[in-house]
Symmetry: C2
Subunit: 328 residues, 2 copies
DNA sequence: CTGTTAGCGCTTTCAG
DNA sequence: CTGAAAGCGCTAACAG
C-alpha cells in the first residue's frame, strides 16, 4: 500500500509538482481552472499532504508547543481549550506537554518540544528552569508565559499579579472584620505568592494549611480539619482554588458548621461550579479563556512577522462576592 | 542566527554526518569513544535534533494523535494524562485534537492529524463519521478507540460496555426497591446508551432530564428541578456523570431534601471528589487511567511491529456503593 | 500564471 | 565499526 504524494496528484491532474503544491496551499497565484483540476485529483486519490515535509522546507511547522504542569489542573482547562481553538482557527495545532511541577522535567520537555520545531511556545505559569528559559530565548521563536506577570518574561507574558490578588483578598477579609482567619493553599509558586501578598497586607500571621498542588476537594477537607486544629475559633478561610474551597465547605457541613454563619469561605478561579454551589461561593474571577485566546493571538501575530514588541498583558482579576461570605 | 544541525555536530566531533546520527540515536553500533565525543559536541553546540526531518526519512514521527470531544471532560482527563505519560515513557508524544462532539469536525480533524503522520491514533469514544473511519483504516496505522466497546472497531478498542453499565445500575436500583426513579443524563452517545440499558432492564419508563454534554454541576441542579416537576415523588436519581450528580445533590440540599433519606443519588465515573462528598457519592468506577495506559501499550506494541491481532479489551466497571444511597 | 532546480535535516540503504 | 550516496515529500527561489 503506497502512500500518495503530491507527485501522484500532479500527474493525475496533468500539471507539474509545484503547480499542484500552489493550487492546494497558495491558491491566489494559480488559475481557477487548474485549482479545480488539482483539487479534484487530490480528492480522487485521497491525498493527505505531508505537513512534516512541508514544514521541513518552509520552516513553518504550523504547530505551537503548550507546556502545562499537569493537564488536569481545572483552572488551566479553559485556557488550554481556548488556546487550542484559537490556534486551530489560524491553522495551528497545539502540542501539549506535561512538566509535572518539576524543573528537570521542564528542561527535558522543552528540548523534546523544540525538536518538533514549533512555531511558538505557550507556557502556563512562568518558566522556572533558567536553562529552559535560556534555551527558548536562543531559539528565538515567540514564547508566551501565562497565568502570571513579570517584567522579565522570556518573551511575552499574559496574566495577572498574584501578589495583587493576595492583597485584594486581604482587604476584602479586613472589610469583613474577621479576626480568626485561615489559609488553605496549594504549594505551587503562584498560590504561595498570593498567600504572601495576603499575609503581608493583613499585617499579621494567619493559620495556614499547605496542600500539594494540584489541590482538590479531598485536600480541602483535610485542610479545614488542619486549620481548625490550629485555630478552633476559625471564622473565615481563604482558599487557593475553588476545588479546595469546595472541600472546606463539605468538611464544614460534615462537622455541622453553617456557611457563612459559622464559617466564611473564599475560593479562587471562579470555576464553572462556583456560582452554583449552595451556598454560592465567593471567589476570584480570572479570565482563563481570555488568557488562552490572547496567547494565541500574540503567537500568531508574531509568526506572521508582525512586531508586537514585548507585550506584557495584564488581564486583571475580580473578587466576586457570593453567599459563602455574606454577613447578614 | 543559524540553527545548528547534525552536520555541525559531526564536524565539531570530527566524524561523518552519519556516524554522528548513529551515535545519538542508535548507540549500539558505534564505539564508546565516538559516542562520547559526539555527545560532547552536541552539548557544546546546543544541538536540538530536528525530529521532523528524522521522521520524514524514517517514516516514524514518534507522535500519536489523540482525539477528544472536548479536552475538559472530567472523565477523560485521567485517560489523557495516563496516555500522555505512558507514551512519553516510550518516547512518543501525544498531539491532541478536539472534535467537539461534531461529526464534520471529526473528519477534518482526522485529516489534519494524519497530515502530521502520527504513528498511531487514540480516540476517546468510538469514531462516528464513516469517512473518518474509512480514512484511518486505509492509512493502516494502529488505531485505538476507547471508553466504549464494539465488535467492529476501526482497529483496536479498549473500554467497557455502556449497555451493561445501564443494566447493572437498573439491577442496583431494583434491589433498593425504589419506585420513583429519575435519570439525569448528558446527550452524548455513551450516556444515552447507558440510559437505554437502564430503562430496558428496569422494564418501565423513568422520568428523564437530558442535558447537553459535557454535563456539569450547574446542569445537574437544573436537571433535578426538571425531574421533580416530572415526578414530585422522586426517590432516586441516576446521573450520567459525577459532576451532574453533584449538582443534583446541591439542588436537593437547597430544597431541603436530605440525601439519602429523601433522595438517593448515583453518579458515574468515580471522579476524584466522589468519595469525599458529604454524603459520599455512590457511583460507577471506571479505570480511566488504565484505559489510557492500555491504549498506549497497544499502540507502542503495534508500532514495534508486534502482532497484537485485533484486540478488544474490556476493562469492565464496578458499582461503588457509598452513603448517597445507603438505606438504613 | 507555470515550470525547473535545489535543498530543508535527517536516516536508510549499501560499501568498505 | 565507519563512511558515501541517495532521497523522504515538500516548498523557496528563480526563471520563463
Amino acid at each position: 500500500m503506497k502512500t500518495i504524494t503530491l507527485h501522484d496528484v500532479a500527474r493525475e491532474a496533468g500539471v507539474s509538482l509545484i503547480t499542484a503544491s500552489r493550487a492546494l496551499s497558495n491558491p491566489g497565484v494559480v488559475s481557477k481552472a487548474t485549482i479545480e483540476r488539482v483539487q479534484a485529483a487530490a480528492r480522487a486519490t485521497g491525498y493527505i499532504p505531508n505537513l512534516l515535509a512541508g514544514g521541513l522546507k518552509s520552516k513553518r511547522s504550523m504547530t505551537v508547543a503548550g507546556l502545562v504542569p499537569i493537564i488536569s489542573v481545572p483552572q488551566f482547562l479553559p485556557t488550554i481549550q481556548a488556546l487550542t481553538q484559537s490556534l486551530d482557527e489560524s491553522g495551528y495545532q497545539l502540542i501539549l506537554g506535561q512538566s509535572g511541577y518539576d524543573y528537570a522535567r521542564e528542561e527535558s520537555l522543552v528540548d523534546t518540544m523544540l525538536g518538533r520545531r514549533p512555531d511558538g511556545v505557550v507556557v502556563t505559569g512562568l518558566l522556572h528552569s533558567p536553562k529552559a528559559r535560556e534555551q527558548l530565548r536562543r531559539v528565538g521563536i515567540p514564547v508566551v508565559e501565562t497565568w502570571d506577570l513579570t517584567d522579565r518574561p522570556v518573551d511575552m507574558v499574559v496574566g495577572f499579579s498574584h501578589l495583587k490578588v493576595g492583597i485584594a483578598l486581604a482587604g476584602f477579609f479586613q472589610s469583613k472584620g474577621w479576626q480568626h482567619i485561615g489559609i488553605a493553599t496549594g504549594d505551587d509558586p503562584r498560590a504561595l505568592q498570593r498567600r504572601e501578598g495576603f499575609v503581608a497586607a493583613l499585617g499579621r500571621g494567619a493559620a495556614t494549611a499547605y496542600v500539594k498542588a494540584p489541590s482538590n476537594l479531598a485536600l480541602g477537607r483535610r485542610a479545614l480539619a488542619n486549620l481548625l486544629e490550629q485555630d478552633p475559633k476559625l471564622e473565615a478561610v481563604c482558599c487557593s482554588s475553588d476545588g479546595l474551597a469546595q472541600g472546606v465547605v463539605v468538611e464544614a457541613h460534615a462537622r455541622g458548621l453553617r456557611i457563612p454563619q459559622d464559617l466564611a469561605v473564599v475560593g479562587f478561579g471562579d470555576t464553572d461550579f462556583a456560582a452554583h454551589l449552595h451556598p454560592a461561593l465567593t471567589t476570584v474571577e480570572i479570565d482563563a479563556a481570555g488568557i488562552g485566546r490572547t496567547a494565541a493571538q500574540l503567537i500568531v501575530k508574531r509568526c506572521n512577522g508582525q512586531p508586537a514588541g514585548q507585550p506584557i498583558v495584564d488581564l486583571g482579576f475580580r473578587i466576586v462576592e457570593r453567599a459563602s461570605t455574606t454577613t447578614s
